[in-house]
Symmetry: C2
Subunit: 594 residues, 2 copies
């Protein structure tokens, strides 16, 4: 997707310097998110794309799209606006977690061994069985065994996983038993470092998924992976490198040695887990859209390329089918979806939205390609739920100004830099309520200073004078289109799965909303735009990042791991059909409800 | 043990060229087995060792010890007498094998899979479960899976081991399921290539253990391994290189691709299995003589360095304790020692001799450091049971010549090159019967052309005119000493273990003799010299190389594998005590019985 040749685009050069610049379109010059200001240096000529996206004026001010600019001079100095940075944030790094007893697959055991004597000539390995029978041992550990036992004067701590010996250390190190839970999201990677001797979370770290440079959605990732063996390998390395960096950061924050991390549990959608393992996901990208694997699989961390204890394991949590991966299973596990007393629903809203239903008898799951609009990508002033993003919007008609006025809330305070998904939902609901847009989302002929219908029609939310970017922050016609498409995808998937589960919305007792929306989502507004049925407004719980919560449960509880496998096994996958009936539902959902 | 420095000894140079020259003493210049004739070339000066071992006359004829000679000129031409070659032989490569049903741990399954469709979007891996549930898969195979399935038009053969997928191939390859049994002996390595779909043996290959260059017995191997990390690694590599060569040879003989070998079972004494795995055996060499492991352990063949299917496993059969390793367990398994109706005994006579007893209730095992005399090493004209070796000897007093005459049998016919263990036992028995040696093995003052008491006392078995080496083949005083030491070790161990098992020799119903003696051993003569009790003469069965037979059973039958683990577990290890009582037994056994 990136231009080939000896020279790299500015976007790539920045990436090489580990500066993550946004690139929602994957460097195609369409999204305009990678805008930078050139201060010093000679670059390649401005492209047509840049004229279309940025316009004459902005270009004159020295702005360029990093993806379209190639450095010609030896050196350059540039300024990156905050809104172009794919900044990391913390708010969506935790989620609700159903309590499970701590009973990890790995355990430590401090043993004082009686040294061998002519009366007791048992083997070194046989002597360890006072803790537990050992039936497997990595060769490199076997080679070290006699030396360690003698150097440690026969007082050692052994680490076991089932009947396999993973580690042997001097003295009592029973408390140093750590594990890592990893949520590999399409856009972000979150890790939690756990003390597996008591189940406590010691550190959290997260970063943008570095693959975003190759396109925001999973389809463009599949396309990139399929382009060559090297591209697939590159995508794989990007994930392992990020996970290694995050685990180093978390370990350092918690004062833990990575060699004492013995188990890693990874959840992710099917494409992410394929890419992490270096498995070509291209069969997922074309009919009949099948993954290579869905089952929970374990590998030595070395095979996967994660730098922890060399004998540790990586367990990739089981997925359900299609794009519905281990993250959806983790969601269900974290909230106990399989144990609801009355019918319940879970919506994990993201670029790829998962909908899960328990109708009291069976579990159902589907996924909807919502696109990135709700996550703050693919809209002109969209931002993740990060510092500086507007999270809530309230539009009202002011008698004083005889015009519509806007109230908003900025995450972390200060001047707003853009709007996140929940703000867009608020805005849509208000614009619709006030009749500024019609049921198809088109701007009506309403008189307001904020409504500008020349060139690209838009409704200004924040005036340039108040914004952190000195630019008007507005909702464009095109944004409304993207949001409606996303809304239609989620709502249609929800309606479809309810129908398959023989449920009507009224029968659902509990609705869990997971994902990056967090508690900012106004459910009334979500119902007004038709994202969720009206009867769900007061039945909704925000559960946060339950993908990582579920990963943690699988990591710290063998029972939860069995349960996850059971959920993956028994959940019925509902595929989005390509038939007329579904098309009808989908088209209806492109309108706001009356 | 070998001289350091930039230049290598002739022995090492020959080894580099894969010419295995005998070196019983490990290159110390003592055994005189590496004698070669220099035809062209300048070498380092003759050493004192050579004068002592070869004598003036032989040195004048151009003979040298390869271990003492360093090449000075650029090139050289030498002649290697046949008796100096550590030739491979076949006779001890097979043994008795109790019948077991073929039920290997690995199996193949040809499946025709329905391709995925929009109606059936199951994952690629999930589709394989029509044969059997797959719960583990090596990462590299998972990466190849989608490609293979599609290229093979969904008709594939899967190879499984428990629930792990080891291989996937196009079309029906069910019959190409192979395994390798390996007996790593102190002196020789034997491999059998098996078709695991029917249990048939397809090829046999063997070669001398290349570690012989570092000394013949296991104690010198331990010493060498303990000398440095590099030495241990070198010993390990010698074994894996040999096994790889043998498996290539066997595969080529049988027309089998090594990639279709999915399981390898290795048996060997404790020192050999430690060295094969690169585990330092030095704790076995000093009190309290404990091994690092005895348990049956499995590793990926790649970890061990065996070049077969990359996903295959190497299973190192469980040993009992001390030096009593997986070869002894294999012996017991092959003859069904644990199922004897009346008390039974197994003697595996080798450099390290194992004695196992079933007293009808319990199994007992011990090992005796017999030394190499019975295997044709450590005696002046000793040879393995190879072509050209005398295997049987008969000494009688001829009225015609008024002297003792000798009848003998040569393996493969032709002129004799030396004598193997069974011939030495015959000779000892006859010399003792005729009163040529006394009960302590010393030559008496008997008048015979064959008895030469000047310098080194000896009894000539074959005159130089009849021998293949043009040299007299004789039994020396020193040989008799070595043989008596070996005999005493075996007999004492046997007496000790019988006592521990509460048995007298008369109660034993069956005696199995395993090892390189083969059927050449005359049990009456063995009883005359006191190697076995007189009452066992007619209860003896020769079972050959049961170590390799047992390895084959473990390879082809899961039931046999469980049985081997059971035998290893329940056999009581009897250690040779360092007390007065045992010393008394041992000293008594240094004499021939009256």
């Amino acid at each position: 997707m990136l231009k080939s040749g000896n020279s790299k685009s500015l976007l790539e050069l920045l990436k090489d310097k580990e500066i993550s610049v946004r690139s929602d379109c994957g460097g195609l010059g369409i999204c305009g998110k990678c805008v930078v200001k050139i201060l010093v240096g000679v670059f390649s000529d401005t492209t047509l794309c840049e004229y279309r996206v940025l316009g004459d004026q902005v270009i004159k001010e020295g702005f360029r799209l990093a993806c379209q600019s190639y450095l010609i001079s030896d050196e350059a100095l540039i300024e990156i606006p905050e809104s172009s940075l794919a900044t990391s944030y913390k708010s969506a790094d935790v989620g609700f977690e159903k309590p499970y007893k701590t009973s990890p697959l790995v355990r430590k055991c401090f043993i004082k061994i009686s040294p061998p004597s002519l009366e007791d000539q048992k083997s070194d390995l046989g002597r360890l069985s006072s803790c537990q029978e050992v039936s497997r041992i990595p060769l490199r550990l076997l080679r070290l065994l006699p030396k360690i036992l003698r150097e440690c004067a026969w007082e050692v701590t052994v680490t076991l996983r089932n009947e396999e010996l993973l580690d042997i250390e001097c003295g009592n190190r029973e408390s140093e038993l750590y594990g890592l839970a990893v949520d590999v999201g399409t856009s972000r990677i979150v890790v939690h470092l756990l003390n597996l001797s008591n189940g406590e979370t010691l550190a959290v770290a997260s970063s943008p998924n570095p693959q975003q440079v190759f396109g925001f959605d999973i389809i463009s990732r599949i396309a990139h992976a399929a382009s060559s063996v090297e591209s697939l390998e590159k995508l794989r390395q990007e994930l392992t490198t990020s996970i290694n960096e995050l685990l180093l950061k978390a370990s350092s924050d918690a004062g833990v040695r990575p060699e004492n991390i013995y188990e890693i549990v990874v959840v992710g959608n099917t494409v992410m887990t394929h890419l992490l393992l270096g498995v070509d996901p291209s069969t997922l990208g074309r009919a009949p859209y099948t993954p290579v694997f869905t089952k929970g699989l374990e590998f030595k961390s070395e095979e996967v390329g994660i730098k922890v204890s060399p004998n540790s394991y990586v367990y990739v949590a089981p997925g359900i089918a299609g794009f519905v991966g281990g993250d959806a299973v983790a969601d269900a596990l974290a909230v106990g979806l399989d144990e609801c007393i009355e019918p319940c629903v879970l919506l994990d809203i993201g670029t790829n939205t998962e909908v899960l239903v328990n109708n009291g008898k069976e579990l159902y799951a589907t996924s909807a390609p919502a696109g990135p609009a709700f996550e703050g990508f693919g809209t002109k002033h969209g931002l993740r739920a990060m510092r500086g993003a507007i999270s809530k919007i309230f539009i009202y008609f002011s008698e004083a100004s005889s015009d519509y006025e806007v109230l908003y809330e900025v995450i972390g305070g200060g001047k707003p830099l853009g709007m996140c998904g929940s703000a867009y939902i608020d805005a849509l609901a208000h614009l619709y309520k006030h009749g500024i847009i019609d049921s198809r989302g088109r701007f009506r002929d309403v008189v307001s200073r904020r409504l500008k219908k020349i060139e690209e029609p838009k409704f200004v939310v924040v005036w340039g004078s108040e914004s952190g970017t000195s630019e008007d922050l507005a909702i464009y016609s095109k944004d409304i289109e993207s949001l409606l498409l996303a809304k239609a995808a989620v709502a249609s998937a929800t309606q479809l799965i309810l129908r398959k589960a023989n449920l009507i919305p009224e029968e659902v007792g509990k609705v869990f909303i997971a994902g990056s929306f967090g508690t900012s989502l106004n459910t009334e507004n979500a119902a007004i735009i038709g994202l969720i049925p009206k009867v769900w407004v007061n039945k909704t719980s925000f559960v946060g990042n339950t993908a990582i919560s579920g990963a943690k449960l699988i990591l710290k509880s063998s029972e939860a791991r069995r349960k996850a496998e059971e959920i993956a096994q028994k959940t019925k996958y509902i595929k989005i059909p390509a038939d007329k009936e579904f098309t009808k539902i989908y088209v209806e959902n492109l309108f706001f409800p009356p």
